[in-house]
Each structure stands twice: as structure tokens, then as C-alpha cells.
Symmetry: C2
């Protein structure tokens, strides 16, 4: 592996551990916990792992001698900056327990556990990946660990390698599955612990006990870097409207954080669109109004941030998609040989009047995409819709109407961007490098404490990293029952943007100013070696949420 | 202006001047120069500014007392990182000549000179923009200074402001126009000097005397950062082919530099495609062959870098576009009321058989775009073609054929990116911050030396900046006669990628290895505060070209 100069220099970075984790620790139990909702049902589904106490690590002045422990680690789902540091923290943590401890990495995600594909992670391998982005050390994958067969198959290799604990690094779904796996292994007395780590750039795995998921900090800083650069270009050339879509299907945390960092003219927040029951045309009109208002002052340029998941948050379209999926599922036989216009006609005939009207209000190419493009499960593929182009096209049409009415006298020329893959594997910021290393090291402490069904929890994150606290949170505590894919399931509650939360309120209080006046901020690239106020700042979302407490 | 923490910290950076410019200088004349080609014709067109000597600045131990000088500055064309530092270097340079010197910035490009729109750039303004990206201090524009009317109109405001010299910061076209302006003002004894500065991220304004244009270093580092991040994602998920288009219409320097920095699986170099007389299908097949070969080893992922200008370098398409433009120009009356299919039919009937065949070999949507989309001059709008999608679509089709023949057994799933606006206004790297500041400061020295028709020249750029040399190059020296827009014109020769040059040879010697083995390098973001090997490296293009000398 040929390394870049930065990679070489960055390899020497020693992540700063919370002071409590630098010596021997003991787990101090808090009160028993309960799930955020549906307590009876969650307890029924998790009889062995429900109601466990929160754990907090404190200094241990009389530690017992450690014994070697074998641990397996899995990277699950989409990449997030810092995954390699979770693994190196975990490695250092189990080596601190005993130098003969061993770490096994299952390859290409949870599938590696089921298929018995793994490597041993030695210090030579680990050292090559410290403080780097990516999940390439063992790869990641999206296989869901859900069935007894998978659990039993996994147990075979776990027993063969004498693995005492599995550490699963993933988002809300993967940690839900980790809880199910922990419950199952406990129920059969398999003697295997399962520990989760909160990962996702989307920032939607957080709650009272998990302040943020790792990767969000770095990814939003990379997106804000390029958004800032585009805004500086926009403000120099003064002739384009840039429509910038940002990754994050479920929640708008990424768009909101980037807006707080860069102060664009417009940022759409899906959760607000849903709460206000806005139509797509409402969203379009709100953008067109800002374009027209800026044009009054000769400012025929601007920036619009768009969360990737917007379409699915628009109530009318959400309803349409749900009925489309139902119609197709209910008429699988009748539609299987239909294509093109014949399929379109069939679908339109079977839609309710409301949803047909919504469909017909959409631009042709989008309507066609919704009707004809299917994923392997037969569902509408919303992610294929280029929302940024859809919006700019509809804004353009709206402005033509406004021009005809004398309400728009400017020019409108749009450019489009989509950022996602640019940030998921960036080298972790100091924050994520430290946070991830602590999460991994802390997971080793949870393994040593002998617990299962816990998520590694590092808190007090707006303080310098040495002051962070460490412990474990029962995963069942974060769960509720939700209707997903046609069935009620116990899942970790997803954290959407709260319209009464401090980050959104901060944004909402300033956006009128940002829309009319050009208030762009240019954050620049992530720095690793400079002054602390440049290198060591947490996300603004985290800062404002903390201040709100 | 709300500033980011990095912006605040970076404001304190003091660009490192070449040692020779830190004291008083004298201009030492070299031998008279001649243009790179078409000497007689260039001399005829530039009787007053042809054949001037190269100038080199050396220490002056007996300097005369300086007198206040008023200077005007213009940013011309596309943004490039470091423009603000050229202006701050120029400001500091004329203030060093005399503290009562004044700097006027013409607004939104050369049009500001013609329309008499300007501001005085005071130290308070300048200090707000030191070491920042963008051209927003005075804006930029694409008005071409070409006509006597424009020159005379400009002279009015120049005289009104008692401006002694104009400094034009631009690419090859803008510097060509600067030379014409210099010649004109000299011919009428206007008493106004014109000095150029070499700007363009494209890297195609360079020659024996100009080692690189400013902005190339920073922009390619930003693109390489995000390409590296995408490659790390690609190598973690192992399931996508990323088609990444990079800005740069005329030359492939950007794609080549990014390839040298990141080692992608494939990088197309337009100049090679042209030299080998490849068709679009040849390019497609060459990509499909690599996809299939990697698939043999289970590697259904990879990265492809594509220069923005590719389409226009494919000889058959270049011919087609030329004939399309001619057919439309020659039949303006007959086609002016035609649209859609009628226009397509008309065009096809009027194309030569060869070009009709080329047109029909293209995917429908691209053929239609070539026939129907026109710029305001009636020309085909090649820049609207999404080459990255065109290529991946054609590669997908080719792979289907290969699969049917048993020559491809893998999966092919493509994602697309286009990077341009993300890098043009980035905060300048240390290299560009120093280089630009030196170019601007040196321009002040050229003003003080009383010369006109010169380009600011800083050389020895692979050495630490204090060792750089400084001087001036007659712009006519870089010129030749080219046929553009239907007429022979004196222009600065564009520097395309040389297939016998060191950067391309370095790439060509390694690309087979990169294509089959995954050799990605992850450069990470530009650093400003770290070790010199991370922060102060020039581009690899510059390094290899230097070694080749």
C-alpha cells in the first residue's frame, strides 16, 4: 500500500483517550432501564437482556489480573469515517487486558460471520490503518443478521475461534440485530457477548444516552468544505444557482449541520416539509420565491441544500409510493409481463384518485421512474430520483410562470451536485479519531465486564476528549415497536431532526437573513495539525444540542 | 463577513516571498525574444511589443527613491485558487514602492474596465481576503477585451484615476488580450502599462518560461482529496464502478495530475485518444476490457477518471461537430423555424456520410443533444454532454455483449461524479498562496520597471519558495497564429498534455499495474499547518517535468 504524505504523518497521531479509560476500570451499575416505548412488548421479546442497568466506568484501584480474550469484530452497512479507529481502539483495549488477547475481523460485513470468512487482525495490520478513513481493513456489507440459522452458523466459527465476544459496528438496524443476537446467544447460554458501536454519517442513531454516531462529524465537515468552495465560486461568478443534494435518506441531520456550517441561501429540511404537510410544488414555490426575491437586488445566484430523502418525506408522495408498492404487490401476476406505456396505464387505472393526481402533478420523467423502476423486491426506487435536478427544473418552470406575471425579472441558471461518497471514507477528524478510538477501547472494557446486549457509550463529547465519560447502554433501552416491511418489529428508534431542537431553531432563526443577504461561510478542509479552535471542534449540531440541555 | 475558524487562523499566514523580492530590485535584461512560431506575422501585429528581452530581477544595492503609483487590477475568466493573493501581493508590492500608491479593482472582470465599475482596494479590504480562495474581492467575468472601442473606453477611466498600469489576471485568452491591449496603448503612447499574470486551474497556460499557472496546484489537490475518499469507499464496499469527470475543457492536465496523485484503475487522457485516432467505441471498449479483467478476479469495482474535454478530442466526433456547426451556420435561414425531429432530419440529410455514420453510432440522447442544443452563437454545446454517464452507459452495453459471448462474468454497477466548482475557489495551498503572492508582488516590480506587454514570471518552483526566481516574460514570446472561430488570430499557444512528457510517461508506465491491482492512494485534504512534506509539496506534474529537464 503506497501511502500519501498525509497518511504517513497522520499514522503517528495518538488518539486522546478519556482519562478514565487510561487506567484500570470497574463498571458501576446504574438503575435498571426500560425501553423508550412499548415496554411490555420489548420485554417479552428480550426476556434475557431487557431492563439491564446503565453502566459507567470508574477508576479501579484494585483490579484483578486480566486473562486473554478472543474477540470478533464486524463492520456493518455504509462506510463512516473512523471505523478503523474503533477497531484499533478495540485491539489496544483487549491487548491491555492481556497481551495474548486476539482480535478476529469478519470479512465484508455480517455475511463474513455466517460464511466463516475472517482474518486475524495483528498489530502489523492494525498499525497500517490507524487514523485512516474507509472500512477496507476488513470490508463492510449489508447482510442482515436476523435468522436463527444465521446465528447458529455464526456460533460455529465463534466457538471454533474461542471468541468470547462479538463487537458489531453499525447503524440503527445493525445494532437492532446486535440486540437480537445478544438475546439469542444469552437465551441458549452460548457464552458469547455481543457489543454494539454507534456508526452512521447520517447522524440518526442518537438518543438520551448516545450523543452522536461516529462519522457524522467528519462527513459533514467534508461536505461543508466543498459546499463552502462552491459558495465562494457562486459569490465570485454571481451567475449560477447551485442545487446541492446531500446523502442521508432518513433524516436531514447532514443537510442541517452543513447549513449551520456554511450558511447557504436555502436549506430544505425534510422533517419540516412533512410537519407542514407541504407538497412538492410548495417546496418548489418556496425556492422560486427566494430566487425571485434575490433577483430583485440583481443577485441571480445562490445555493440550495437538499437532503437526499426529501421525496419520501413529502406526505402526498409518500402516500403515492405506498400505494404504488401495494398495487404492484397485489397485481404481481397481472403486471409481470407488462412494460412501458401498458404498465403505466395499468398502474394509473389502479391508483386512487388522490394519488393519481399527485402522480400527474410530477414531471413526466419522474412519474415514469416511479412507475417503472423497481428494486429487486419490487419496490419503487426512490433513491434513483435526481431530486436536485427535479427541483431545479420545476423551479425553472415556476419562474417562467412568475416572469409571465411580471413577478420575476432575473435570470435563472442552475448547476447540480450530489455529495455522499466523497465523505463516507474521509480520514477521520480529530473528533472522530478520538471518539472512535474511545468507542472501541471502551467496547473492550465492556467485554471485560462480561456484559452483553450493550452499546459502547462515550459521553460529554463537547468537552475536551480527556474529560469524556465512558460506559455502556443496554440496547433494548433505545427500542420501540415499529411497523416495517409489513410487520411489527422491535427496532432502535431513529432520531429525526427535531423541529423544537436547538440546531433547527438556530437555523430557522437565521435563514431569512441567509436567503436574502449573502452570508456564506467557507469552512475549508479538515485540519489535523493546526490550532485547537481549527482542528478539535465538534459538530455544531452537537454543540447546540448540548447548550440546549 | 462571518469567518470560519480556519479562515481566521489562515489570515495570519505570511506568504513566503522569493528572497530576491524581499529587498530592492533591478531588472536585468536578457536577449531579445521571438515568438514560439509565426515570427514574421506576430512581429507585424505587435510592432511595439515584439522582440522585447526577458527580464530577471536581481538585488539592487543603489535603488532610487520610489514614487507613488496607481495601478488597476482585473480578474478575468474562471476562478482559480490564489487570485486574492495575487492582488494582496500586488498591493503590498506597490505600497513598498511608495506608501501613497493606490490600487483600484475593476469589478466583475474586464467588463468593469469598459463600464467604469471599480472600487479602491484599501488595506482594510485586502486584509479580509489574504490567503482565501475565490475571486469575490472584486468578482470576475468573461467579457473579452478585443476591440478598439473597449480599449478607448477603458483608457478614459484609467486616465481619470491616474492609473499607470493595468494588471490582468487571467488564462491564455485573457493574456492574449492583455498583449493586444499593451500593444495598442503603446502604439498610441497612452502611457499605460499592461502586465499579465498566469491563471487557470486547467494548467494549460505554461511554457518554457512559465512553469505553471496558479490554481492548478490547489484545485487538483481538492479533486484528489475527494477522488481518494471515493476510492477508499470503492475499496471498502467493493461493488461500484465510479466514473469521475474532472473539469478542464481543453487539456487533460487535471485528470493526469489527479491520476498521479490517486492511482485510479483507469484514467483517460484526451490527447492520447486524439493521437491514437480512437473512436468513442474504442474508448468504451478499453474501459470494458479492464472491467471484465478485474471481474475475473472478483473485483467488480473500480474508478475511472475522465477529462471534461474528451468528446472534443475524439477525431471522428470533432469532425462531426465541425460539420454540424458549418451545416447550421450555412443553413441558418432554412433551419431557424425547424425543431425536434424535423430539424434532426434536415441535419442528417445535410451531413456527409462519414459524419452521419458517427452521429448514428452515438446513443440517441447524445446524438439528439448534439443536433438540438445550441449556445447563443448557434454552436453545438459539447459541455452539456454528461460524458461520465455516456461512457458508463456504453460500457454497460458493451459488457452485455461480452457477457453474451462468455467474455464477462461479473457485475457492473456505475456511479457518477463531476468535480469542477468544488476546487476552483478552495483556499490556496501553501504553494499557491506563496506563488500567487509572489506573482502579484513581482507584477508590482514590473510596473516599477516601466515595462509593458510582460507576464509576471516566478520560476524554480520545485525549490522552496525563498529560492524562487522572479522576472518578466514578453507575452508575444508565447504567441503563434491559430485558426479560431473562422479566422487566423495571434494567440498564446495552449499547452496540452505531451505524450512524450515526464508526467504522462510516468502514468503510462504504471497504469497497467493500477488497472488490475488496486493501488489507490488517498491524499486527504490540503493541510496548512503540518509538516513540510505534507503542506509544502508542489504538484507531481511540476515535479516530474522538472526532473525531466
Amino acid at each position: 500500500m503506497k501511502k500519501s504524505p498525509l497518511q504517513k504523518a497522520r499514522a503517528a497521531y495518538q488518539p486522546k483517550l478519556p482519562i478514565v479509560l487510561t487506567g484500570a476500570v470497574k463498571a458501576v451499575e446504574g438503575n435498571p432501564t426500560r425501553s423508550v416505548a412499548d415496554q411490555a412488548e420489548i420485554q417479552r421479546l428480550f426476556p434475557n437482556t431487557y431492563g439491564l442497568p446503565e453502566l459507567k466506568f470508574e477508576k479501579n484501584t484494585t483490579p484483578a489480573a486480566g486473562r486473554p480474550v478472543n474477540v470478533g469484530v464486524i463492520l456493518s452497512g455504509g462506510q463512516a469515517p473512523g471505523g478503523h479507529n474503533v477497531i484499533s481502539g478495540l485491539f489496544d483495549g483487549i491487548k491491555k487486558i492481556h497481551r495474548d488477547s486476539r482480535l478476529f475481523g469478519f470479512l465484508m460485513g455480517p455475511g463474513g460471520l455466517v460464511d466463516h470468512k475472517y482474518i486475524e487482525l495483528t498489530s502489523a495490520i492494525i498499525d497500517d490503518y490507524r487514523n485512516t478513513g474507509g472500512f477496507d481493513i476488513i470490508g463492510s456489507g449489508r447482510t442482515k443478521l436476523e435468522t436463527k440459522e444465521q446465528f447458529d452458523k455464526g456460533l460455529e466459527i465463534v466457538k471454533e475461534l474461542n471468541i468470547k465476544a462479538l463487537v458489531i459496528i453499525g447503524g440503527d438496524d445493525s445494532n437492532t440485530n446486535a440486540a437480537v443476537l445478544a438475546e439469542y446467544y444469552k437465551s441458549i447460554n452460548a457464552g458469547v457477548q455481543v457489543i454494539g458501536c454507534p456508526k452512521t454519517i447520517d447522524g440518526d442513531l442518537k438518543n438520551e444516552c448516545i450523543e452522536t454516531s461516529f462519522g457524522f462529524d467528519t462527513a459533514t465537515k467534508v461536505y461543508s468544505e466543498v459546499i463552502g468552495n462552491i459558495q465562494r465560486d457562486c459569490n465570485s461568478a454571481k451567475k449560477y444557482w447551485h442545487f446541492i443534494k446531500l446523502m442521508g435518506r432518513s433524516a436531514s441531520h447532514i443537510a442541517l449541520e452543513c447549513a449551520l456550517q456554511t450558511q447557504p441561501n436555502i436549506c430544505i429540511i425534510s422533517e419540516e416539509v412533512e410537519a407542514k404537510n407541504m407538497t412538492l410544488q410548495d417546496v418548489v414555490n418556496s425556492i422560486a420565491d427566494v430566487v425571485a426575491a434575490r433577483a430583485e437586488y440583481g443577485n441571480n445566484f445562490g445555493t440550495v441544500l437538499i437532503p437526499e430523502g426529501l421525496i419520501e418525506f413529502i406526505p402526498a408522495i409518500k402516500k403515492l409510493i405506498a400505494e404504488l408498492n401495494n398495487v404492484l404487490a397485489a397485481n404481481a401476476d397481472a403486471t409481470k409481463d407488462l412494460a412501458g406505456e401498458a404498465l403505466e396505464t395499468f398502474i394509473k387505472e389502479h391508483l386512487s384518485a388522490d394519488n393519481r393526481a399527485t402522480l400527474e402533478s410530477l414531471p413526466d420523467n419522474v412519474a415514469r421512474q416511479l412507475m417503472l423502476d423497481r428494486d429487486p423486491h419490487g419496490n419503487v426506487q426512490v433513491s434513483l430520483i435526481e431530486t436536485e435536478k427535479l427541483l431545479s427544473e420545476m423551479v425553472g418552470n415556476r419562474l417562467k410562470t412568475m416572469a409571465a406575471e411580471g413577478k420575476f425579472k432575473g435570470k435563472f441558471s442552475a448547476l447540480h451536485h450530489f455529495f455522499g461518497y466523497e465523505g463516507r471514507c474521509a480520514d477521520p477528524s480529530n473528533f472522530d479519531a478520538d471518539y472512535c478510538y474511545a468507542l472501541g477501547f471502551n467496547a473492550a472494557c465492556l467485554v471485560n465486564a462480561g456484559v452483553t446486549g450493550y452499546m459502547s457509550s462515550i459521553r460529554n463529547l463537547v468537552k475536551p476528549s480527556v474529560q469524556w465519560t465512558a460506559g455502556g447502554i443496554p440496547i433494548t433501552m433505545m427500542m420501540n415497536i415499529e411497523h416495517r416491511n409489513g410487520a411489527d418489529k422491535p427496532v432502535i428508534q431513529k432520531a429525526l431532526v427535531r423541529l423544537d431542537g436547538a440546531p433547527f431553531r438556530k437555523f430557522a432563526s437565521q435563514r431569512d437573513d441567509w436567503s436574502m443577504n449573502t452570508c456564506y461561510v467557507y469552512p475549508g478542509p479538515i485540519q489535523y495539525f493546526g490550532p485547537a479552535e481549527v482542528c478539535d471542534q465538534p459538530s455544531l449540531t452537537l454543540l447546540y444540542e448540548h447548550k440546549d440541555k
